[in-house]
Protein backbone atom coordinates (compact mmCIF):
# COMPACT_ATOMS: atom_id res chain seq x y z
CA UNK A 1 0.00 0.00 0.00
CA UNK A 2 2.70 2.49 0.97
CA UNK A 3 4.63 1.77 -2.19
CA UNK A 4 1.48 2.63 -4.21
CA UNK A 5 1.10 5.76 -2.15
CA UNK A 6 4.58 6.89 -3.07
CA UNK A 7 4.38 6.06 -6.75
CA UNK A 8 6.56 7.89 -9.21
CA UNK A 9 3.76 10.13 -10.49
CA UNK A 10 3.12 11.50 -7.00
CA UNK A 11 6.82 12.00 -6.37
CA UNK A 12 7.24 13.81 -9.69
CA UNK A 13 4.19 16.01 -9.10
CA UNK A 14 5.54 16.94 -5.68
CA UNK A 15 8.87 17.90 -7.23
CA UNK A 16 7.06 20.14 -9.75
CA UNK A 17 5.30 21.89 -6.85
CA UNK A 18 8.68 22.95 -5.49
CA UNK A 19 9.39 24.77 -8.77
CA UNK A 20 6.06 26.61 -8.76
CA UNK A 21 6.01 30.13 -7.32
CA UNK A 22 3.58 32.50 -5.64
CA UNK A 23 2.09 35.27 -7.82
CA UNK A 24 3.58 38.76 -7.75
CA UNK A 25 0.22 40.52 -7.75
CA UNK A 26 -2.55 38.15 -6.69
CA UNK A 27 -6.15 39.31 -6.54
CA UNK A 28 -6.63 37.06 -3.58
CA UNK A 29 -4.26 35.23 -1.27
CA UNK A 30 -5.31 32.60 1.30
CA UNK A 31 -3.30 30.58 3.77
CA UNK A 32 -4.51 27.28 5.09
CA UNK A 33 -2.90 24.98 7.68
CA UNK A 34 -3.17 21.27 8.29
CA UNK A 35 -3.58 20.94 12.06
CA UNK A 36 -2.23 17.38 11.94
CA UNK A 37 1.29 18.46 11.13
CA UNK A 38 1.40 22.24 10.79
CA UNK A 39 1.74 22.03 7.02
CA UNK A 40 0.75 25.18 5.24
CA UNK A 41 -0.22 26.31 1.77
CA UNK A 42 -0.34 29.94 0.75
CA UNK A 43 -2.38 30.06 -2.43
CA UNK A 44 -2.56 33.03 -4.81
CA UNK A 45 -5.21 33.55 -7.46
CA UNK A 46 -5.75 36.08 -10.22
CA UNK A 47 -9.35 36.12 -11.39
CA UNK A 48 -11.16 37.22 -14.54
CA UNK A 49 -14.95 37.13 -14.71
CA UNK A 50 -15.15 34.60 -11.87
CA UNK A 51 -12.60 32.28 -13.48
CA UNK A 52 -9.08 31.55 -12.33
CA UNK A 53 -6.68 33.38 -14.65
CA UNK A 54 -3.49 32.44 -12.82
CA UNK A 55 -2.53 30.34 -9.80
CA UNK A 56 0.59 30.52 -7.69
CA UNK A 57 1.41 28.96 -4.36
CA UNK A 58 4.00 28.33 -1.73
CA UNK A 59 3.50 24.94 -0.10
CA UNK A 60 5.28 23.66 2.94
CA UNK A 61 4.04 20.14 3.23
CA UNK A 62 4.36 16.43 2.65
CA UNK A 63 4.58 14.81 -0.78
CA UNK A 64 0.82 14.36 -0.93
CA UNK A 65 0.08 18.02 -0.23
CA UNK A 66 2.78 19.12 -2.64
CA UNK A 67 1.53 16.80 -5.38
CA UNK A 68 -2.07 17.98 -4.89
CA UNK A 69 -0.92 21.61 -5.01
CA UNK A 70 1.01 20.97 -8.23
CA UNK A 71 -2.00 19.38 -9.94
CA UNK A 72 -4.23 22.21 -8.79
CA UNK A 73 -1.78 24.80 -10.10
CA UNK A 74 -1.43 22.99 -13.43
CA UNK A 75 -5.12 22.25 -14.00
CA UNK A 76 -6.86 25.08 -12.20
CA UNK A 77 -6.63 27.77 -14.86
CA UNK A 78 -10.10 28.78 -16.18
CA UNK A 79 -11.82 26.93 -13.32
CA UNK A 80 -14.82 28.58 -11.71
CA UNK A 81 -16.01 28.15 -8.14
CA UNK A 82 -18.57 25.66 -9.43
CA UNK A 83 -15.93 23.63 -11.30
CA UNK A 84 -13.65 23.55 -8.34
CA UNK A 85 -16.46 22.41 -6.04
CA UNK A 86 -17.03 19.48 -8.38
CA UNK A 87 -13.31 18.69 -8.53
CA UNK A 88 -13.05 18.77 -4.73
CA UNK A 89 -16.17 16.65 -4.41
CA UNK A 90 -14.75 14.07 -6.84
CA UNK A 91 -11.51 14.00 -4.90
CA UNK A 92 -13.31 13.52 -1.58
CA UNK A 93 -15.34 10.64 -3.05
CA UNK A 94 -12.20 9.09 -4.49
CA UNK A 95 -10.56 9.32 -1.07
CA UNK A 96 -13.66 7.73 0.45
CA UNK A 97 -12.95 4.72 -1.76
CA UNK A 98 -15.68 5.28 -4.37
CA UNK A 99 -14.89 4.22 -7.94
CA UNK A 100 -15.36 7.74 -9.27
CA UNK A 101 -13.61 8.90 -12.45
CA UNK A 102 -12.51 12.37 -11.40
CA UNK A 103 -13.27 15.33 -13.61
CA UNK A 104 -9.52 16.01 -13.54
CA UNK A 105 -8.18 12.53 -14.41
CA UNK A 106 -4.74 13.34 -12.90
CA UNK A 107 -6.35 13.17 -9.46
CA UNK A 108 -6.74 9.40 -9.83
CA UNK A 109 -3.10 9.22 -8.73
CA UNK A 110 -4.39 9.75 -5.18
CA UNK A 111 -6.59 6.62 -5.22
CA UNK A 112 -4.19 4.64 -2.96
CA UNK A 113 -4.55 7.37 -0.30
CA UNK A 114 -8.13 6.16 0.25
CA UNK A 115 -6.71 3.45 2.52
CA UNK A 116 -5.01 5.96 4.83
CA UNK A 117 -7.68 8.13 6.39
CA UNK A 118 -5.23 10.25 8.35
CA UNK A 119 -3.70 11.49 5.09
CA UNK A 120 -6.89 12.59 3.32
CA UNK A 121 -6.53 16.12 4.67
CA UNK A 122 -3.05 16.31 3.13
CA UNK A 123 -4.51 15.83 -0.35
CA UNK A 124 -7.53 18.06 0.20
CA UNK A 125 -5.64 20.99 1.73
CA UNK A 126 -4.77 22.83 -1.54
CA UNK A 127 -8.30 22.35 -2.87
CA UNK A 128 -9.86 23.64 0.33
CA UNK A 129 -7.57 26.66 0.14
CA UNK A 130 -8.69 27.29 -3.47
CA UNK A 131 -12.36 26.97 -2.50
CA UNK A 132 -11.78 29.42 0.36
CA UNK A 133 -10.23 31.87 -2.06
CA UNK A 134 -12.92 31.60 -4.72
CA UNK A 135 -15.74 31.75 -2.16
CA UNK A 136 -14.23 34.84 -0.64
CA UNK A 137 -13.84 36.45 -4.09
CA UNK A 138 -17.45 35.62 -4.92
CA UNK A 139 -18.64 37.23 -1.66
CA UNK A 140 -16.57 40.33 -2.30
CA UNK A 141 -17.93 40.83 -5.82
CA UNK A 142 -21.58 40.12 -4.94
Amino acid sequence: MNRDLYNQRIIEAARRAREQQPLDAPDIRVTRDNPLCGDRITLDLQLEDGRIAAIGHRTRGCLLTEAAAAILAERGRDATLQTLRRVRDDLARLLAGEMVEPVWPELAVFRPVAEVKSRHECVLLPFDAALDALSRAARETS
Binding site: I11, L36, G38, D39, R60, L63, R119
Partner: protein, 405 residues
Protein backbone atom coordinates in the same frame (compact mmCIF):
# COMPACT_ATOMS: atom_id res chain seq x y z
CA UNK B 1 21.09 -8.73 35.76
CA UNK B 2 19.95 -8.01 32.20
CA UNK B 3 16.30 -7.53 31.39
CA UNK B 4 14.24 -10.45 30.07
CA UNK B 5 12.64 -8.48 27.24
CA UNK B 6 10.98 -11.53 25.68
CA UNK B 7 9.35 -12.27 29.02
CA UNK B 8 8.27 -8.67 29.38
CA UNK B 9 6.71 -8.72 25.90
CA UNK B 10 4.60 -11.70 26.94
CA UNK B 11 3.01 -9.40 29.53
CA UNK B 12 1.58 -7.28 26.70
CA UNK B 13 -1.29 -8.95 24.81
CA UNK B 14 -0.75 -7.02 21.60
CA UNK B 15 2.55 -8.70 20.77
CA UNK B 16 0.91 -12.09 20.38
CA UNK B 17 -1.96 -10.65 18.37
CA UNK B 18 -0.30 -8.48 15.72
CA UNK B 19 1.71 -10.54 13.24
CA UNK B 20 5.30 -9.53 12.58
CA UNK B 21 6.85 -7.31 11.47
CA UNK B 22 5.53 -5.14 14.28
CA UNK B 23 7.91 -2.58 15.77
CA UNK B 24 5.96 -0.25 18.04
CA UNK B 25 7.98 2.92 18.60
CA UNK B 26 5.18 5.39 19.34
CA UNK B 27 5.18 4.94 23.10
CA UNK B 28 5.27 8.66 23.82
CA UNK B 29 1.84 8.88 22.18
CA UNK B 30 0.45 5.87 23.99
CA UNK B 31 1.96 2.78 25.53
CA UNK B 32 0.56 -0.67 24.88
CA UNK B 33 -1.74 -2.02 27.59
CA UNK B 34 -0.19 -4.59 29.91
CA UNK B 35 -2.06 -7.81 30.64
CA UNK B 36 -2.61 -6.81 34.26
CA UNK B 37 -4.42 -3.64 33.18
CA UNK B 38 -6.34 -5.33 30.36
CA UNK B 39 -7.56 -8.05 32.74
CA UNK B 40 -8.53 -5.48 35.37
CA UNK B 41 -10.48 -3.49 32.78
CA UNK B 42 -12.35 -6.42 31.28
CA UNK B 43 -12.80 -7.98 34.72
CA UNK B 44 -14.54 -4.86 35.95
CA UNK B 45 -16.63 -4.30 32.82
CA UNK B 46 -17.71 -7.94 32.45
CA UNK B 47 -18.02 -9.17 36.02
CA UNK B 48 -17.74 -6.25 38.41
CA UNK B 49 -19.51 -3.32 36.81
CA UNK B 50 -21.42 -0.97 39.08
CA UNK B 51 -21.21 2.73 39.85
CA UNK B 52 -18.92 3.80 42.66
CA UNK B 53 -19.13 5.74 45.93
CA UNK B 54 -22.90 5.36 46.44
CA UNK B 55 -24.39 1.87 46.06
CA UNK B 56 -24.58 -0.43 49.09
CA UNK B 57 -25.24 -3.75 47.39
CA UNK B 58 -22.23 -6.07 47.20
CA UNK B 59 -21.44 -5.48 43.51
CA UNK B 60 -21.39 -1.70 44.00
CA UNK B 61 -19.38 -2.01 47.18
CA UNK B 62 -16.78 -4.15 45.42
CA UNK B 63 -16.57 -1.57 42.59
CA UNK B 64 -16.11 1.21 45.15
CA UNK B 65 -13.39 -0.77 46.87
CA UNK B 66 -11.64 -1.50 43.56
CA UNK B 67 -11.78 2.18 42.65
CA UNK B 68 -10.33 3.19 46.03
CA UNK B 69 -7.67 0.51 45.71
CA UNK B 70 -6.70 1.90 42.28
CA UNK B 71 -6.20 5.31 43.86
CA UNK B 72 -3.99 3.74 46.49
CA UNK B 73 -1.92 1.86 43.92
CA UNK B 74 -1.39 4.99 41.85
CA UNK B 75 -0.49 6.94 44.99
CA UNK B 76 2.11 4.32 45.92
CA UNK B 77 3.60 4.32 42.42
CA UNK B 78 3.86 8.11 42.56
CA UNK B 79 5.26 8.18 46.08
CA UNK B 80 2.41 10.34 47.37
CA UNK B 81 2.15 10.94 51.09
CA UNK B 82 -1.47 9.75 51.12
CA UNK B 83 -3.96 8.34 48.57
CA UNK B 84 -6.25 11.34 49.06
CA UNK B 85 -3.66 13.51 47.31
CA UNK B 86 -4.53 11.71 44.06
CA UNK B 87 -7.49 13.00 42.04
CA UNK B 88 -8.58 10.49 39.43
CA UNK B 89 -9.09 12.20 36.08
CA UNK B 90 -9.41 11.26 32.44
CA UNK B 91 -5.79 12.09 31.63
CA UNK B 92 -3.03 14.68 31.75
CA UNK B 93 -4.88 17.24 29.62
CA UNK B 94 -7.89 17.12 31.92
CA UNK B 95 -5.61 17.29 34.96
CA UNK B 96 -3.77 20.38 33.75
CA UNK B 97 -7.04 22.09 32.83
CA UNK B 98 -8.40 21.20 36.26
CA UNK B 99 -5.29 22.77 37.80
CA UNK B 100 -5.67 25.91 35.70
CA UNK B 101 -9.25 26.31 36.92
CA UNK B 102 -8.78 25.63 40.62
CA UNK B 103 -5.81 28.00 40.77
CA UNK B 104 -7.77 30.80 39.09
CA UNK B 105 -8.59 32.66 42.30
CA UNK B 106 -4.88 32.83 43.16
CA UNK B 107 -4.11 34.84 40.06
CA UNK B 108 -4.79 38.50 39.37
CA UNK B 109 -4.00 41.22 36.84
CA UNK B 110 -0.25 41.78 36.57
CA UNK B 111 0.62 38.33 37.91
CA UNK B 112 2.68 35.99 35.77
CA UNK B 113 2.37 32.35 34.76
CA UNK B 114 5.68 30.89 33.65
CA UNK B 115 5.79 27.99 31.20
CA UNK B 116 8.47 26.98 28.68
CA UNK B 117 8.95 26.43 24.98
CA UNK B 118 9.46 22.76 25.71
CA UNK B 119 5.83 22.20 26.63
CA UNK B 120 3.13 20.06 25.05
CA UNK B 121 0.14 22.18 24.01
CA UNK B 122 -1.70 20.72 27.02
CA UNK B 123 0.67 22.64 29.27
CA UNK B 124 0.45 25.85 27.23
CA UNK B 125 -3.14 26.42 26.16
CA UNK B 126 -4.86 26.01 29.58
CA UNK B 127 -2.45 28.61 31.04
CA UNK B 128 -2.99 30.97 28.10
CA UNK B 129 -6.72 30.70 28.70
CA UNK B 130 -6.28 31.29 32.43
CA UNK B 131 -4.02 34.30 31.82
CA UNK B 132 -6.65 35.82 29.54
CA UNK B 133 -9.44 35.20 32.04
CA UNK B 134 -7.49 36.92 34.83
CA UNK B 135 -5.58 39.63 32.93
CA UNK B 136 -2.32 37.94 33.86
CA UNK B 137 0.84 37.57 31.79
CA UNK B 138 2.21 34.37 30.32
CA UNK B 139 5.95 34.02 29.90
CA UNK B 140 7.96 31.11 28.51
CA UNK B 141 11.41 29.92 29.50
CA UNK B 142 13.73 29.21 26.59
CA UNK B 143 15.13 25.95 25.35
CA UNK B 144 18.77 25.12 24.64
CA UNK B 145 19.88 24.20 21.12
CA UNK B 146 19.73 20.52 22.07
CA UNK B 147 16.15 20.68 23.28
CA UNK B 148 16.53 20.98 27.05
CA UNK B 149 14.91 23.51 29.33
CA UNK B 150 17.31 26.47 29.56
CA UNK B 151 17.82 26.75 33.30
CA UNK B 152 20.15 29.73 32.76
CA UNK B 153 16.94 31.55 31.80
CA UNK B 154 15.43 30.81 35.21
CA UNK B 155 16.62 33.94 36.99
CA UNK B 156 15.05 36.13 34.31
CA UNK B 157 11.95 33.98 34.15
CA UNK B 158 10.88 33.84 37.80
CA UNK B 159 10.27 37.05 39.73
CA UNK B 160 7.95 38.36 42.41
CA UNK B 161 5.05 38.55 39.93
CA UNK B 162 5.25 34.80 39.22
CA UNK B 163 2.32 32.94 40.79
CA UNK B 164 2.41 29.68 38.81
CA UNK B 165 5.26 27.81 37.12
CA UNK B 166 4.11 24.98 34.82
CA UNK B 167 6.76 22.75 33.26
CA UNK B 168 7.15 19.32 31.78
CA UNK B 169 9.11 16.70 33.70
CA UNK B 170 10.16 15.04 30.45
CA UNK B 171 9.77 16.46 26.94
CA UNK B 172 7.45 14.50 24.68
CA UNK B 173 9.67 15.52 21.74
CA UNK B 174 13.28 15.47 22.89
CA UNK B 175 13.07 13.10 25.85
CA UNK B 176 14.99 15.63 27.96
CA UNK B 177 14.29 15.37 31.68
CA UNK B 178 13.84 18.64 33.52
CA UNK B 179 15.89 19.15 36.66
CA UNK B 180 13.02 20.30 38.85
CA UNK B 181 15.02 21.02 42.02
CA UNK B 182 16.37 24.48 41.04
CA UNK B 183 12.99 25.43 39.58
CA UNK B 184 11.19 24.36 42.75
CA UNK B 185 13.64 26.34 44.88
CA UNK B 186 13.22 29.54 42.83
CA UNK B 187 9.44 29.10 42.69
CA UNK B 188 9.23 28.57 46.45
CA UNK B 189 11.40 31.66 47.06
CA UNK B 190 8.81 33.91 45.38
CA UNK B 191 5.76 32.02 46.64
CA UNK B 192 4.85 30.56 43.25
CA UNK B 193 3.26 27.13 42.78
CA UNK B 194 5.02 24.55 40.63
CA UNK B 195 2.81 22.45 38.36
CA UNK B 196 4.46 19.55 36.53
CA UNK B 197 3.33 17.68 33.43
CA UNK B 198 4.48 14.17 34.23
CA UNK B 199 2.87 12.36 31.29
CA UNK B 200 6.17 11.32 29.73
CA UNK B 201 7.98 10.63 32.99
CA UNK B 202 5.66 8.13 34.62
CA UNK B 203 6.10 5.25 32.11
CA UNK B 204 9.77 5.11 33.10
CA UNK B 205 9.41 3.96 36.66
CA UNK B 206 8.07 4.84 40.11
CA UNK B 207 8.88 8.27 41.53
CA UNK B 208 8.92 10.20 44.79
CA UNK B 209 6.55 12.98 43.87
CA UNK B 210 6.49 14.36 47.41
CA UNK B 211 10.21 14.97 47.19
CA UNK B 212 10.26 16.72 43.82
CA UNK B 213 9.39 20.10 45.31
CA UNK B 214 6.36 20.54 43.09
CA UNK B 215 2.79 21.25 44.16
CA UNK B 216 0.82 19.57 41.39
CA UNK B 217 1.74 16.65 39.12
CA UNK B 218 -0.36 15.44 36.18
CA UNK B 219 -0.23 12.06 34.48
CA UNK B 220 -2.08 9.72 32.11
CA UNK B 221 -2.84 6.03 32.55
CA UNK B 222 -2.56 5.06 28.90
CA UNK B 223 1.06 6.20 28.69
CA UNK B 224 1.96 3.97 31.64
CA UNK B 225 0.51 0.85 30.03
CA UNK B 226 -3.04 1.22 31.37
CA UNK B 227 -6.25 1.74 29.40
CA UNK B 228 -7.12 4.97 27.63
CA UNK B 229 -9.51 7.31 29.43
CA UNK B 230 -7.98 7.53 32.89
CA UNK B 231 -5.35 9.71 34.50
CA UNK B 232 -4.46 11.28 37.80
CA UNK B 233 -3.59 14.63 39.28
CA UNK B 234 -1.47 14.62 42.40
CA UNK B 235 -1.77 17.72 44.54
CA UNK B 236 0.21 18.34 47.73
CA UNK B 237 -2.34 17.84 50.53
CA UNK B 238 -1.89 21.22 52.24
CA UNK B 239 -2.67 22.93 48.92
CA UNK B 240 -5.41 20.51 47.87
CA UNK B 241 -7.41 21.14 51.03
CA UNK B 242 -7.63 24.84 50.20
CA UNK B 243 -8.68 24.56 46.57
CA UNK B 244 -12.21 25.19 45.30
CA UNK B 245 -13.98 22.60 43.14
CA UNK B 246 -13.68 22.57 39.35
CA UNK B 247 -16.76 20.85 37.92
CA UNK B 248 -20.00 20.70 39.87
CA UNK B 249 -22.28 17.68 39.99
CA UNK B 250 -22.84 14.41 41.74
CA UNK B 251 -20.22 12.76 43.95
CA UNK B 252 -18.38 16.03 44.75
CA UNK B 253 -20.79 17.27 47.40
CA UNK B 254 -21.49 16.79 51.08
CA UNK B 255 -24.93 18.37 51.03
CA UNK B 256 -26.89 20.29 48.40
CA UNK B 257 -29.67 22.77 49.07
CA UNK B 258 -31.30 24.99 46.49
CA UNK B 259 -29.54 27.96 48.12
CA UNK B 260 -26.06 26.52 48.38
CA UNK B 261 -23.83 23.46 48.50
CA UNK B 262 -21.26 22.10 50.90
CA UNK B 263 -18.53 20.33 49.02
CA UNK B 264 -16.97 16.96 49.73
CA UNK B 265 -13.40 16.87 51.00
CA UNK B 266 -10.59 16.10 48.56
CA UNK B 267 -10.16 14.17 46.39
CA UNK B 268 -13.93 13.68 45.85
CA UNK B 269 -14.46 17.45 45.64
CA UNK B 270 -12.66 17.29 42.29
CA UNK B 271 -14.34 14.18 40.92
CA UNK B 272 -17.81 15.29 39.82
CA UNK B 273 -19.95 12.74 38.02
CA UNK B 274 -19.35 9.10 37.29
CA UNK B 275 -15.60 8.66 36.84
CA UNK B 276 -13.96 6.44 34.22
CA UNK B 277 -14.15 3.51 36.65
CA UNK B 278 -12.83 0.69 34.48
CA UNK B 279 -9.88 2.68 33.07
CA UNK B 280 -9.02 3.96 36.57
CA UNK B 281 -8.99 0.41 37.93
CA UNK B 282 -6.83 -0.59 34.96
CA UNK B 283 -4.46 2.31 35.68
CA UNK B 284 -4.18 1.11 39.25
CA UNK B 285 -3.40 -2.41 38.04
CA UNK B 286 -0.75 -1.05 35.67
CA UNK B 287 0.81 0.99 38.49
CA UNK B 288 0.91 -2.06 40.72
CA UNK B 289 2.42 -4.22 37.98
CA UNK B 290 4.99 -1.54 37.13
CA UNK B 291 5.93 -1.21 40.81
CA UNK B 292 7.07 -4.83 40.80
CA UNK B 293 9.50 -4.52 37.87
CA UNK B 294 13.28 -4.26 38.08
CA UNK B 295 13.70 -0.62 37.14
CA UNK B 296 17.45 -0.68 37.38
CA UNK B 297 17.54 -3.33 34.65
CA UNK B 298 14.91 -1.48 32.62
CA UNK B 299 16.84 1.81 32.84
CA UNK B 300 20.01 0.08 31.62
CA UNK B 301 18.05 -1.56 28.79
CA UNK B 302 16.38 1.68 27.70
CA UNK B 303 19.68 3.52 27.86
CA UNK B 304 21.35 0.92 25.69
CA UNK B 305 18.53 1.08 23.11
CA UNK B 306 18.56 4.89 23.14
CA UNK B 307 22.30 4.80 22.49
CA UNK B 308 21.81 2.33 19.62
CA UNK B 309 19.11 4.56 18.15
CA UNK B 310 21.09 7.80 18.44
CA UNK B 311 24.26 6.24 17.04
CA UNK B 312 22.35 4.69 14.14
CA UNK B 313 20.57 7.93 13.30
CA UNK B 314 23.84 9.87 13.31
CA UNK B 315 25.30 7.58 10.65
CA UNK B 316 22.40 8.07 8.21
CA UNK B 317 22.83 10.79 5.57
CA UNK B 318 20.65 13.85 5.94
CA UNK B 319 19.27 12.94 9.37
CA UNK B 320 19.21 15.71 11.97
CA UNK B 321 18.39 14.83 15.58
CA UNK B 322 16.20 17.45 17.27
CA UNK B 323 17.14 16.98 20.90
CA UNK B 324 20.00 15.82 23.08
CA UNK B 325 22.48 13.43 21.50
CA UNK B 326 23.86 12.26 24.80
CA UNK B 327 22.36 9.89 27.35
CA UNK B 328 22.40 12.21 30.35
CA UNK B 329 19.10 13.17 31.97
CA UNK B 330 16.90 11.89 29.18
CA UNK B 331 14.57 9.07 28.28
CA UNK B 332 14.32 7.23 24.97
CA UNK B 333 12.22 9.75 23.11
CA UNK B 334 14.09 10.85 19.99
CA UNK B 335 12.86 13.31 17.37
CA UNK B 336 14.60 13.79 14.06
CA UNK B 337 14.27 15.16 10.57
CA UNK B 338 15.30 13.66 7.26
CA UNK B 339 16.53 16.47 5.06
CA UNK B 340 14.24 17.03 2.09
CA UNK B 341 11.63 14.49 3.22
CA UNK B 342 8.51 15.39 5.14
CA UNK B 343 8.02 13.67 8.50
CA UNK B 344 4.68 12.17 7.49
CA UNK B 345 6.16 10.69 4.34
CA UNK B 346 8.92 9.13 6.42
CA UNK B 347 6.42 7.65 8.88
CA UNK B 348 4.13 6.42 6.14
CA UNK B 349 6.98 4.59 4.42
CA UNK B 350 8.27 3.16 7.71
CA UNK B 351 4.83 1.66 8.23
CA UNK B 352 5.55 -0.62 5.24
CA UNK B 353 8.33 -2.15 7.36
CA UNK B 354 6.02 -2.59 10.34
CA UNK B 355 7.67 0.34 12.12
CA UNK B 356 5.23 2.57 14.00
CA UNK B 357 6.57 6.09 14.55
CA UNK B 358 4.93 9.46 14.96
CA UNK B 359 5.34 12.37 12.55
CA UNK B 360 4.15 15.91 13.02
CA UNK B 361 4.56 18.71 15.52
CA UNK B 362 3.78 16.40 18.47
CA UNK B 363 1.49 19.07 19.96
CA UNK B 364 4.60 21.16 20.58
CA UNK B 365 4.54 23.83 17.89
CA UNK B 366 6.54 26.42 19.90
CA UNK B 367 9.32 23.83 20.23
CA UNK B 368 9.17 23.10 16.49
CA UNK B 369 9.83 26.82 15.98
CA UNK B 370 12.94 26.53 18.15
CA UNK B 371 14.17 23.75 15.87
CA UNK B 372 13.26 25.79 12.77
CA UNK B 373 10.83 23.21 11.47
CA UNK B 374 7.13 22.36 11.46
CA UNK B 375 7.25 18.61 11.85
CA UNK B 376 9.66 15.89 12.92
CA UNK B 377 9.66 12.11 13.09
CA UNK B 378 9.65 10.74 16.64
CA UNK B 379 10.67 7.30 17.83
CA UNK B 380 9.91 6.62 21.48
CA UNK B 381 10.95 3.57 23.46
CA UNK B 382 9.30 1.47 26.14
CA UNK B 383 10.73 -1.38 28.24
CA UNK B 384 9.29 -3.97 25.80
CA UNK B 385 11.25 -2.62 22.83
CA UNK B 386 14.35 -4.47 21.76
CA UNK B 387 17.32 -4.06 19.43
CA UNK B 388 15.30 -5.54 16.55
CA UNK B 389 12.83 -2.65 16.85
CA UNK B 390 15.58 -0.06 16.64
CA UNK B 391 17.32 -1.88 13.80
CA UNK B 392 14.07 -2.15 11.82
CA UNK B 393 13.65 1.61 12.15
CA UNK B 394 17.18 2.30 11.00
CA UNK B 395 16.94 -0.14 8.06
CA UNK B 396 13.57 1.32 7.07
CA UNK B 397 15.03 4.81 7.21
CA UNK B 398 17.82 3.80 4.86
CA UNK B 399 15.17 2.73 2.36
CA UNK B 400 13.18 5.92 2.84
CA UNK B 401 16.27 8.01 2.25
CA UNK B 402 17.13 6.04 -0.89
CA UNK B 403 13.58 6.37 -2.26
CA UNK B 404 12.47 9.85 -1.29
CA UNK B 405 15.49 12.01 -0.60
Amino acid sequence: MSLDVAGLRRSFPIFSRIPPPFHYLDNAATGQICAAAAEALTGFEMAGRANVKRGVYRLADRATQAFAEARGRIARYLGANRPEEVILTTGTTFGLNLAAHVLEERLGPGDTILISRLEHHSNIVPWQMLARRRGARLRALGVTADGRLDLADLDNGIDRSTRIVALTHCSNVTGAVTDLAPVAERARAVGALLVVDGAQRVPHGPLEVSGLGCDIYALSGHKMFGATGAGALWVRWELLETLPPFLGGGEMIRRVRIEDTRYAPPPHRFEAGTPPIGPAIAMGAAAEWLSGLDWQAIAAHEKSLTSRLLTGLETLPGVRICGPRDLQARFGVVAFEVEGVHAHDVCQMLDAFGVCTRGGHHCAQPLMEVFGTVATVRASLAPYNDAADVDALLEGLEQVIRTLR
